[in-house]
C-alpha cells in the first residue's frame, strides 16, 4: 500500500512538472532565420502533402512551403510526423509549421492559423436522371432516399445533418469513394463526398453518370474543413509574416495555380 502511494505521488509530481512547461519568448520567425531552416511537420493529406516511401514529400503544400523557405532565404526541412501528434509538435518546438490542417475552435486554443487556402466541404452525389429526382438538397431529405455511408464517418454526420429524414445504409471499413459503387449499382441513391478531393476522383471515373448537388464548386455549408497552416500561438511576428506571405502568394495567382495543379485525379491518387 505504501509503495502504491509513493508511486502515485511520483506520477502526480511528474505530470505537474510536465504541464508547467514555460512558453518561449523568442519569435519562431527569428528562430527560423537563425537556424537557417524552416521546419515543417510531414503529415499525410493527399494531394496537399504526402510522404513517399523513399522519404521525399510531394503535394501542393510542399510547393507552398518551398516558396516560403525561399522567401525567408532558408532551407526547407520536412520532418516525418503523424497526425496524432502533429499539433503537439508545435508546442514541443519540433517544427515551425503544420500544413494541411482543418481550422477548428479546439485547435485555435493551442495554435494560431494562417488564413484558409482551401476548403474541403461536402456535396451529395446521386446518379444523373435518377428516378427519385434528386436534383436539389431538399429532395434528399425524404425517408425513401437511401444514403450509403461509412459508419461513424464524417460523411455519415453530414448526411444526418443535411438530410435528417433520409435513410442511412451503413458500411464498415469503407470510404465514400468505395460506396459510389452502391449508387452506380442502384443499391443506394446517394453518397456524401468531399469537394474537391474525393469528387475529383469520382468524376474522373464516373463523370457523365453523376449528379453533384449543390455543385462541385458550391458545396454544402455543413462540417466544412477550412484548411490552413498552424504555427505557435500568440507569436505576432510569425503571424504577420505568414499573413503577408499568403497574401503575396494569393495576389500573384501562384497559390491558386499550385492548388489547381495538384487537384487532379492522378495527383490525388498517387501524388508521386
Amino acid at each position: 500500500m505504501r509503495k502504491l502511494f509513493v508511486l502515485v505521488a511520483a506520477a502526480t509530481a511528474l505530470i505537474g512538472f510536465l504541464t508547467s512547461g514555460a512558453a518561449k519568448a523568442q519569435s519562431v520567425l527569428d528562430a527560423i532565420k537563425q537556424r537557417g531552416e524552416l521546419r515543417v511537420a510531414g503529415v499525410l493529406y493527399r494531394p496537399l502533402i504526402s510522404p513517399r516511401p523513399n522519404g521525399e514529400y510531394v503535394g501542393a503544400d510542399v510547393e507552398v512551403m518551398k516558396l516560403m523557405a525561399a522567401d525567408l532565404g532558408v532551407k526547407l526541412n520536412i520532418i516525418n510526423s503523424e497526425w496524432a501528434t502533429a499539433v503537439a509538435g508545435i508546442a514541443a518546438d519540433k517544427w515551425d509549421i503544420v500544413p494541411a490542417l482543418c481550422i477548428t475552435d479546439a485547435r485555435k486554443q493551442v495554435v494560431d492559423f494562417s488564413e484558409s487556402y482551401i476548403t474541403i466541404a461536402p456535396v451529395f452525389v446521386a446518379l444523373k436522371g435518377n428516378p427519385k429526382d434528386l436534383t436539389t438538397v431538399e429532395a434528399f431529405n425524404r425517408p425513401e432516399v437511401v444514403f450509403a455511408v461509412p459508419s461513424g464517418s464524417w460523411s455519415e454526420s453530414v448526411a444526418k445533418e443535411g438530410a435528417p429524414r433520409a435513410t442511412l445504409k451503413e458500411f464498415g471499413q469503407s470510404t465514400s469513394s468505395d460506396l459510389i459503387q452502391e449508387v452506380v449499382a442502384g443499391r443506394a441513391d446517394a453518397v456524401v463526398m468531399d469537394t474537391p478531393i474525393q469528387i475529383t476522383m469520382a468524376l474522373a471515373s464516373y463523370g457523365d453518370k453523376l449528379e453533384v448537388i449543390p455543385g462541385v464548386d458550391k458545396p454544402l455549408d455543413i462540417k466544412a474543413c477550412h484548411v490552413g497552416y498552424a504555427y505557435r500561438k500568440g507569436d505576432t511576428k510569425m503571424r504577420d509574416y505568414v499573413d503577408g506571405f499568403m497574401k503575396k502568394l494569393r495576389d500573384s495567382g501562384k497559390l491558386q495555380s499550385i492548388i489547381r495543379q495538384y487537384m487532379t485525379p492522378e495527383q490525388i491518387k498517387a501524388a508521386g
Binding site: R52, P53, N54, I79, N80, E82, A91, D93, K94
Partner: protein, 219 residues
C-alpha cells in the same frame, strides 16, 4: 490477387527501413543490457536508497506502454528541458529504457538462481565484488536465463515498429507509405512481415545454438 510487380520498385526503400529497424534494435538492446544489469544489481542491494528507486523505475517502465514512453521522450523532453533527441534517438532511448526494466527482472532471477554458497566461496578465495560477478556469478546466471533473454530481444525487435508513430522511417512506416501510395496494403504489409521474420529468426536461432552449446558444456 496479390500483385508483387507494383511492390518491386520499392525494395530499396524497404531495405533502408529494415536497416533502420536493425539499428534501432541494436542501440536499444545495448542500452537495455547495460542498464538492465545495473538495475538487477541495485534491485538486490541491501541499501534501500539503491533498491527503492530501482523498484520504482522497473515497475514504472514495465507497467506503461512503450508507445507512451516514446511519445513522452519525443515531445516531453523538448518541452521540459529544451533538449531534443530527434525521432531515432527518442525511440532508441525509450525502447532501451523499457527493455532494461524487463531485462533487469530476468537478470535478477538469473542471479538469484545461483546458489548463495557461490558468493561465499568466491569471497573466501579472495575475489572482490566485481570479480565475483564477472567470473563466478554472471556466467552461471546468464546461462540460467538465456531463453527469456532471447524472447525479450525478439519482442524488442518487433516493438521497434512502434517508432513509426513518431514518424521514424523504419520498416513498418515504409510499408505503410508504400500501401498508401500503391493502394495495395496486403502486398505492402506482407513484405513488412517477411522482413521482420528475416530480422528476428536468426536471433532466435542464435539463442538456441548458444543454449545448446552451454548445456553441452555443462554436461
Amino acid at each position: 490477387m496479390l500483385n508483387s510487380a507494383t511492390i518491386v520498385g520499392y525494395l530499396p526503400d524497404y531495405l533502408a527501413g529494415a536497416l533502420l529497424t536493425l539499428e534501432l534494435a541494436l542501440v536499444s538492446t545495448s542500452i537495455g543490457a547495460v542498464l538492465g544489469l545495473a538495475l538487477a544489481l541495485t534491485r538486490r542491494s541491501r541499501y534501500r536508497v539503491l533498491s527503492w528507486p530501482t523498484y520504482v523505475y522497473i515497475e514504472f517502465f514495465r507497467t506503461t506502454p512503450p508507445l507512451v514512453q516514446i511519445v513522452w521522450l519525443y515531445y516531453g523532453l523538448p518541452l521540459l528541458f529544451g533538449f531534443d533527441l530527434g525521432a531515432f534517438g527518442a525511440a532508441a532511448v525509450a525502447l532501451g529504457l523499457n527493455v532494461a526494466a524487463f531485462l533487469a527482472e530476468i537478470f535478477r532471477a538469473g542471479i538469484a538462481g545461483v546458489d548463495r554458497t557461490q558468493w561465499q566461496s568466491a569471497r573466501v578465495l579472495g575475489l572482490g565484488f566485481l570479480d565475483t560477478l564477472r567470473f563466478v556469478i554472471l556466467p552461471q546466471a546468464i546461462r540460467n536465463v538465456l531463453p527469456p533473454i532471447g524472447t525479450t530481444i525478439i519482442y524488442l525487435i518487433k516493438d521497434t515498429a512502434i517508432a513509426s508513430a513518431i514518424g521514424t522511417p523504419e520498416l513498418l512506416r515504409v510499408g505503410q507509405l508504400v500501401a498508401n501510395e500503391t493502394f495495395r496494403p496486403a502486398e505492402a504489409l506482407t513484405i513488412v512481415a517477411f522482413a521482420y521474420f528475416v530480422l528476428t529468426y536468426p536471433v532466435a536461432l542464435g539463442f538456441t545454438t548458444i543454449e545448446r552449446r552451454l548445456s553441452l558444456a555443462r554436461a
